[in-house]
């Protein structure tokens, strides 16, 4: 360690030297490896023993189960699409092939996401002479997990530039953003390149090269199939919703994540492992997570009561396990920067986001992934919620003061 420290010190650009503009870049690398020796002299603002880099690193670690499962799942559905294995039962067959295929599809997305995002971040920090902050470490890992594995790399790059510049840097960089960066990138892709982000051609990697899918495989996500009014196609009858879902899947499938979908968001188990770590370390707010789930269950149950379309018939529990709900509940809605800051606000924020997500999902067939929209929308509403919570508190205390 001493050796590395010496080497790093040797490369430190002096503040008046030729390379002084690059000091933030050096500082960024140095503080990843070492805890800086300087401490605040007076008027300290430290609220916690853990600093931003360690916080971010923990979230990235919490994402690892999702990433690993996503790599395996990508490979699995590729070989299902080519007909080499059955969709069910043959989970461990060709395990090595699946992992290798998944790695080939997913790793480049991770690399591009980090390279482009960090390049933008570094460029802005050097331009503004700010210390480099690690906000992008998490966003860079989230983005590959919420896109289909077949998304072209240049699209990822464009979306990342858009999200980092317009979602974060214009507001002042890490910790200043009002919307979730990863979801901004996904929303950009969703509206910009809808054919690559929805429909039944993108959820199994490499499906476009396959002429005819094996029997019983449709290419749609479980969530998409649940909305198909005419399933199976040969019969052309109203068979959507629960029936369509049950024809191919079980709740257990979607819970483990053995369903086609975006890279890292299919497995509820992997999300739960991440959730356990985030809650144990206190990084994510359990208030938001729980109220998000309750909000989803509540609207899911309500829509069951008066179902007018196939989505509305789905069991609320299924809603939690399908699409990005679980991933959103653990990693997206809990983003401390964009969420409500007050405790009461957190309950309201989570509940509304969960409820709104399911509402969009069941009422708008074109946007089955309503969770993304709902979280982005609630990100914008979070300061308003806080405002009213704080004002209500002030009013209550004023009243107490007057009566006393």
């Amino acid at each position: 360690m001493k050796g590395i420290e010496k080497l790093m010190r040797k490369f430190e650009p002096s503040h008046d030297g030729k390379w002084h503009k690059l000091h933030p870049v050096w500082d960024g690398f140095y503080t990843i490896l070492f805890t800086p020796g300087e401490t605040t002299k007076k008027g300290s603002h430290i609220r916690d023993a853990i600093d931003l880099k360690r916080t971010m690193a923990l979230v990235v670690i919490a994402l690892v189960p999702c990433l690993l499962f996503g790599i395996y799942n990508t490979g699995h559905w590729h070989y299902v699409a080519t007909g080499e294995i059955a969709p069910k039962g043959e989970y461990l067959e060709m395990f090595g092939d699946k992992v290798i295929y998944g790695l080939i599809q997913v790793l480049p997305i991770v690399v591009v996401s980090y390279a482009v995002g960090l390049a933008v971040e570094f460029a802005f920090c050097v331009k503004n002479q700010h210390a480099i902050q690690e906000g992008y470490l998490v966003s860079g890992m989230l983005i590959p997990l919420i896109v289909p594995a077949d998304t072209p790399l240049w699209m990822i790059a464009v979306a990342v530039i858009f999200a980092v510049v317009l979602g974060k840097e214009v507001f002042g960089g890490t910790g200043m953003n009002i919307v979730n960066i990863a979801l901004t990138a996904r929303a950009f892709l969703f509206f910009g390149y809808p054919t690559m982000m929805s429909g039944d051609k993108v959820w199994m990697s490499g499906i476009s090269g396959v002429e005819t899918l094996p029997e019983g495989v449709t290419g749609a996500t479980a969530l998409g199939e649940a909305a198909s009014f005419t399933f199976p196609k040969s019969e052309w009858v109203y068979e959507g919703g629960v029936k369509a879902f049950e024809a191919n899947w079980t709740l257990w499938d979607s819970f483990i994540g053995m369903i086609p979908g975006s890279v890292g968001e299919t497995s509820v188990i992997a999300c739960l492992i991440g959730a356990a770590l985030l809650l144990f370390t206190g990084i994510a707010s359990w208030r938001i997570m729980i109220s998000f789930v309750i909000g989803g269950l509540f609207v899911g149950w309500l829509s069951n009561l008066g179902a007018v379309n196939p989505y509305m018939e789905l069991d609320p529990l299924l809603h939690l396990c399908l699409g990005g709900f679980a991933f959103g509940a653990v990693f997206m809605i809990t983003d401390p920067v964009t969420a409500s800051q007050t405790n009461t606000g957190k309950y309201i924020y989570g509940f509304l986001a969960g409820g709104l997500g399911i509402t969009i999902r069941v009422f708008n067939g074109a946007y089955p992934e309503g969770i993304m929209m709902a979280i982005l929308f609630m990100n914008i509403m979070a300061p308003t919620i806080d405002h009213y919570v704080v004002n209500a508190n002030i009013k209550r205390r004023m009243k107490r003061l007057k009566t006393a």
């Binding site: 214009v170 950009f188 509206f191 910009g192 390149y193 054919t195 690559m196």
Partner: protein
């Protein structure tokens, strides 16, 4: 009453300023944030943006002169109604002319020609300038403001047409993207960005222009 003063030259320094300040320092779209609605709606193609700017030039130019000529006759209590009548008549003229001579464009612009009436720049200039100035300066003010408006419109539409539709003035830049007969860049996986075609993106584009403008000219940054 001003007859007694020496006649001001047509293009005095003051008059030139009327044309040049709205181009940058007092741009109607990026500084006064007026006329945003049409900047969002009709900037998908450069042609539409140009026709729109031309229409606004006519309406605002003629309108400013008419209002300026009438300014001492209009009772201030009903001035808004009088101004509205002026804009409405001019917009109807534009609408009919476009329908007669450029039916394709008129169809694409559809209601947005009629909606020039509600373009805040027009009523804004009537109220802020033409009601208190002589016809010639009012005309120059109209020209300056329309050009300032047009510059933003064209900048946004160039960006949106190139990256949203892959075209420049209707000419395909990256090849054909018709399904089945792709050519050029589309054969290697390039796709037009559908989001850029949607109106919300124009808001981002205008925002980026505002950002660039203020980064260049720090005096424009509001202090709070």
């Amino acid at each position: 009453m001003s007859e007694a003063k020496a006649r001001e030259p047509l293009f005095s320094k003051k008059n030139k300023k009327l044309v040049t300040t709205p181009l940058d320092d007092d741009n109607p779209v990026t500084i006064q944030v007026l006329g945003i609605c049409s900047a969002l709606a009709i900037t998908v193609s450069i042609e539409q943006a140009l026709v729109m700017s031309g229409s606004v030039l006519f309406v605002l130019g003629a309108g400013n002169v008419i209002v300026s000529l009438l300014r001492n006759l209009i009772p201030s209590r009903i001035r808004i109604i009088v101004q509205l009548v002026v804009v409405a008549s001019l917009v109807i003229i534009v609408n009919e002319v476009l329908k007669a001579f450029m039916p394709d464009i008129a169809e694409k612009l559809s209601v947005f020609v009629g909606l020039i009436i509600t373009n805040c720049i027009i009523m804004g200039r009537f109220e802020a300038f033409a009601m208190g100035n002589k016809p010639w300066p009012s005309f120059l003010d109209a020209v300056g403001n329309t050009i300032g408006y047009g510059i933003v419109l064209v900048l946004v539409s160039v960006f949106r047409e190139i990256f949203g539709a892959g075209k420049f003035f209707g000419i395909e830049l990256f090849g054909s993207n018709l399904p089945g007969e792709e050519s050029g860049l589309y054969t290697v996986g390039y796709m037009n960005n559908n989001f850029i075609i949607l109106a919300p993106f124009a808001l981002f584009a205008v925002g980026l222009i505002i950002w660039a403008q203020r980064a260049r000219n720090k005096a424009l940054i509001e202090d709070h």
